[in-house]
Amino acid sequence: MKPTASRFGRPAAVLALAGLAAVVGGCAANPSNGVTTLNFFQFKGEALNDFNAIIEDFEAENPDIRVIQNQVPEADTIIRTLLVKDKAPDVITLNANGGFGKLAQAGVFYDFSDEPVLETINPAVQEILADLGNKEGEVNGLGYVNNANGVIYNQEIFEEQGLEVPETWDEFIAVCDALVDAGITPFYGTLADSWTGLPSFNALGAYPSQGDFWDQMREEGENVGPDSEVSFQKDFPDAMDQQYQLFSYMQDGYRGKTYDEGNAAFANGEVAMLLQGIWAINPVKAVNPDIRAAIFPYPAVDDPDDRLLVSGVDVVVTMGKTTPHKEEAMRFIDYLFEKDVIEQFAASQNMVPSVKGAEISDDPSLQSVKPFFDEGKITGFIDHQIPPSIPLASIDQQFLYSGDADAALATLDSEWAKVAARTIPVTGE
């Protein structure tokens, strides 16, 4: 190391670093030059362009705010890394599943209880969010658009066969039998993708698990079993039998078919119904844009008025608790919830907007579920209440292959007990 080199080298490096720091610091959100930059964490890949358009319009109306959308894959993992580093984004969208509930309970999101925008949202939607978990006494997320998990049916086939939408379980089975007699396969099963057994499980299992079933299950913890107050073995046998009954109306070889094959088959009119949620409509329309497909909720009851539509909050909007730009972030969120903005977004994503009075698009699949949203007859996904370490999709798939409901329910109870026993809560010390 020659002395002359280091004589100029070291001070020059320090100067360069200082200059760089000054430039970078100046680039950060600096209100003094008038423009606040918001970091918008966005999880939904399909919604990237929709949000870009929304942001453009918002920035045109609000020249003092810039919104930068970060669309991330694996959002559940990445939001956690950001939170751990205390770098919570300003505005966040996430899928409202069990993981979101856990984060909300940890108190990392803003409390919207006093915000006026909350009043404009359908209370049934907020209830579904509340069931997932909030910090004690707070409202930590605003439901944006909801999906619908019912039975997708081909309206043309139903009209040709003179079939009405079934409103009770007996009517549903009668419809299936009528289709079989007419030589049409009622459903297309895709059990090679084990998760496709879950939409029907979630919908049928929603009925026996209303009220405080899940709270009681959590209280039972490791003692859950056939003799406890609530358990899978006690409360779910009917739902399992119903699911097995539906799967007896599947096409040959349903065990080896995949989700994509199912969507294509339904789109081509090979079967009359699909046990999938509204998220499958877009892929179906990609194969056959002219199909007329609508949705009815699983009528696992004897009284049509007791029917419930299973719906999850597909996109929940929230804010980091520690964001330094609360006001600007709230302005953006208020803009998102304006009627025409949310209507356009929901129509493009084929989902149901959460704002009271917002028009749902004309798509028959959405119009068919509108009444349930208006009457508040919606309930959440039960698999959000089951810990992800329990292999629910696998257990359900095995049950559908073997038909042994007792074994499946016993497995579910034993897994629940094991997870409860080995989950040692973090005390945050």
Partner: protein
């Protein structure tokens, strides 16, 4: 060829390291430095990307870390709960069953094919190339091809046999045999190469002498061939068993652990339970136990197999 076989022999006979002549010591300081510089980057990279994460994983197995946020030390609770978890025990049972069956089949089939490829058959090099092709293909990709084959083609070809007609991959009791078939099909390629190189080290005069003495082909195999390739046999068996115990790609491609959790191997359970299942620390403990199990099994194998090795 000679270098590889000698290296194999030297390493597997637990060999006595021959003493080097001391005269190499003097005047080699420049050469020594170069060798160090060649070795150090690899050691650093290995430590950083392998040893450090392993140590961190072992550390977290004593906590309740969910992969993010806060955590506490909980001592050996994870390990105790592991032994009470029947899903974990089932995964170990399946992995061992699969590994033992696949190892036996792979080695028997590979040795047979290698014997054939070593003999004077027509278009010998062409056949050697063909048998090597499975090794070149990506496991996951060929796995999906097999999945299609088992789910769609085989039911039509063998429609008479109910086991295959109903898609063997969805059969709780027999799905594992399909995974064995794929695993063996692919692992044979590499094993054949090793056995082939071993067979080529056996001098032909031994066979000539034996046949003059009236030994049958089977006697020649058991008394000449097999003892002399025992070092290669050891390597193949150890590597096969270790590789098959860690089966992952084949399971994901064919059954994804299904039906239910019937074909869930230990590695698949660790990956699923640790990440999407949110039980990072619990499955880290599982990974530590698995590591210890594989180490013990491999060391036992070395001990047993090395004793019976012959040299000439």
């Amino acid at each position: 060829m000679a270098t590889m076989t000698e290296a194999v022999r030297a390493s597997s006979t637990g060999g006595t390291a021959r003493k080097r002549a001391t005269r190499l010591r003097s005047g080699e300081s420049r050469a020594a430095a170069t060798f160090y510089w060649m070795v150090w980057p690899a050691v650093v990279a290995f430590a950083l990307f392998h040893t450090l994460p392993v140590l961190i994983g072992i550390f977290f197995s004593f906590t309740n870390y969910p992969g993010y946020g806060d955590w506490n030390f909980i001592g050996f609770s994870n390990y105790i709960n592991l032994f009470k978890d029947d899903r974990v025990l089932h995964a170990y049972g399946f992995s061992f069953l699969f590994a033992i069956v696949a190892t036996i089949l792979t080695n028997v089939i590979s040795l047979s094919i290698a014997l054939g490829l070593n003999a004077k058959i027509k278009a010998r090099n062409f056949w050697r190339g063909i048998y090597f092709v499975p090794y070149v293909l990506a496991i996951l990709v060929i796995g999906y091809v097999f999945q299609f084959f088992f789910s769609n083609s085989l039911p039509k070809i063998l429609a008479g046999i109910p086991l295959f007609a109903d898609n063997i991959l969805t059969n709780e009791t027999w799905a594992w045999t399909a995974i064995v078939a794929l695993g063996v099909w692919q692992a044979c390629a590499f094993a054949i190469i090793i056995y082939l190189s071993g067979l080529q080290t056996i001098p032909g005069e031994l066979y000539e002498a034996a046949s003059i003495d009236g030994a049958s082909p089977w006697r020649q195999f058991t008394s000449i061939t097999f003892p002399l390739i025992s070092a290669f046999f050891t390597i193949n068996v150890v590597l096969s068993l270790k590789g098959f115990l860690q089966v992952f790609d084949q399971v994901v491609a064919l059954t994804n652990g299904g039906p239910g959790t019937a074909t869930e191997s230990v590695t698949l359970l660790i990956f699923r339970g640790g990440f999407s299942g949110g039980e990072f620390a619990y499955q880290s403990a599982n990974a530590v136990v698995f590591f210890i199990v594989i180490t013990i099994v491999s060391l036992l194998q070395f001990r047993v197999l090395q004793r019976r090795e012959a040299d000439f």
